[in-house]
């Protein structure tokens, strides 16, 4: 029986652009996922 734990952090590109409305934009994301699992063999 195994117990797993893990964590991922994502580093997103910072996307800068000017759209067709003339708006200067800077878009990015942040993402974190944490979890655990239990593996059992019978």
């Amino acid at each position: 029986m195994n117990f797993n734990v893990g964590y991922i952090h994502s580093f997103y590109d910072d996307h800068k652009f000017t759209n067709d409305k003339g708006t200067a934009c800077s878009y990015t994301r942040k993402n974190d996922v944490v979890g655990a699992s239990l593996d059992i063999t019978f």
Partner: protein, 422 residues
């Protein structure tokens, strides 16, 4: 003004890609992925998803993995436009919009029964795509550009509006399959995956107001303002402008309310192979494209429905309408090498075939790819530590990244461990 009609299309994309993986594929279908994302050639129970052919090399008996994950995500937009200074609710050129997506409980399980030296069977459940609810409490800048821009185009010197938008998208995935060991070190896998898709979009643009010379520079309801614009244009003999202003006055006489639920079922085959060469293990898997034909159940406002009669993008959210949103095919290849009995290293590559899928993914310029790498160290008989990373590169041109498409390429850093009880 016509850009108002893109409202429905925006909602399409607000909830995509909550986790790691492709546009509509989550590769983190077991928590073991979070401690080391390079799972394409592992021989372990979570391989039911990542390397099903490798299950053939597990010990005989029944294996089960029950997994929990929690995901938290933000989508952030810093935007600058002088137009926004005319919004009397927030008269600043520099604005910040944020969408939050959270999924505190993401369950999954993988099970396998290694029958004998040749045969094994397996099954799994996971949220194979989407998996979160994204909420933009202050809406999207595009809405304000469209509404504010349209009203300023009708000579308004000020405007205001309230907006919010929520989208959710869950692709529940069930898989069953089996492996056959052709030789002592080569196995093949065949299986089928069923996908139950459940999506929902809710959005409101309300309290739209505008002011200008015709209203003494005081904000009034946008429909009232546009009626005054129509009357003024008619008085000056510009019947075309009067008709246009009247049309949009009618549209803005009520809030824009989008309320659409979508569901569908699809299935696709999956094949794989695993080849053990001494301390090296090689594996590959191909998931065929899953056709997803979402069917709408909508309670939209009358002005949304009216726009839908004229513009296909909005019509995609009409009650009873069917909309394609295929899950792209996916090829994974991976390698695992055992440097010592206690240290293993892995690499993997994922190629998504987005351009062959019908639906939202067809807007891509090129296909998505991912590269993963990881290392695991058995510290002792009980404790394992692991570390890994991945690069996800989407095939969008710079001009395709917008409020409606937040699929931005990324690096992922993973860390974790495992404890062996027995």
């Amino acid at each position: 003004m016509k850009k108002i009609l893109l409202i429905g299309a925006m909602a399409l994309m607000v909830s995509n890609s909550t986790f790691a993986g492709g546009l509509l594929t989550n590769t983190n279908q077991n928590a073991a992925f979070l401690r080391n994302p390079s799972r394409d050639a592992v021989i372990a129970i979570d391989g039911v998803y990542s390397n099903p052919a490798g299950i053939a090399f597990m010990p005989q008996g029944f294996h089960l993995s029950v997994s929990w994950q929690a995901a938290f995500q933000k989508r952030q937009m810093d935007v600058t436009n002088d137009l926004f200074k005319m919004n009397t609710n927030n008269p600043n050129a520099n604005r910040f919009f944020e969408g939050t997506a959270s999924a505190p409980v993401i369950p999954s399980f993988q099970a396998a029964y290694v029958i004998n030296d040749k045969w094994s069977l397996m099954g799994s459940f996971a949220v194979g795509g989407g998996g979160g609810k994204a909420e933009f409490e202050d809406g999207l800048p595009m809405f304000e550009e469209m509404m504010g821009g349209a009203l300023v185009g009708a000579n308004a010197t000020s405007y205001s509006l309230n907006q919010n938008l929520t989208g959710k998208q869950y692709f529940y995935t069930f898989m069953v399959g089996g492996t056959y060991k052709l030789t002592d070190n080569f196995s093949v896998f065949g299986g089928v995956r069923g996908v139950l898709a459940s999506c929902g979009y809710e959005g409101v643009i309300s309290d739209i107001q505008a002011g200008g010379l015709l209203t003494g520079n005081q904000n009034v309801a946008a429909s009232e303002y546009l009626q005054k614009v129509a009357a003024y244009a008619s008085m000056n003999g510009d019947q075309v402008a009067a008709a246009t202003a009247t049309q949009y006055a009618n549209l803005m006489s009520q809030d824009f309310v989008l309320d659409c639920s979508q569901s569908a079922f699809g299935f696709s085959p999956i094949v794989g192979l695993d080849w053990k060469i001494g301390k090296l293990n090689l594996a590959a898997k191909y998931e065929f494209r899953t056709k997803i034909n979402l069917e709408n159940e909508s309670s939209n406002s009358a002005n949304i429905e009216a726009l839908g009669a004229q513009y296909p993008m909005v019509a995609d959210f009409a009650n009873g309408k069917k909309v394609r949103s295929d899950i792209p095919a996916l090829l994974t290849v991976g390698a695992m090498y055992e440097f010592t009995p206690a240290v293993r290293a892995m690499v993997g590559y994922h190629q998504y075939f987005d351009t062959d899928a019908e639906g939202s993914a067809t807007a891509v310029t090129d296909n998505t790819w991912e590269f993963t790498a990881g290392v695991e160290w058995d510290v002792n008989d009980k404790i394992l530590l692991s570390l890994g990373g991945q690069r996800t590169e989407y095939g969008f041109a710079d001009s395709d990244i917008k409020d409606t498409n937040f699929n931005i390429s990324s690096y992922g850093l993973c860390i974790g461990g495992a404890y062996k009880f027995s």
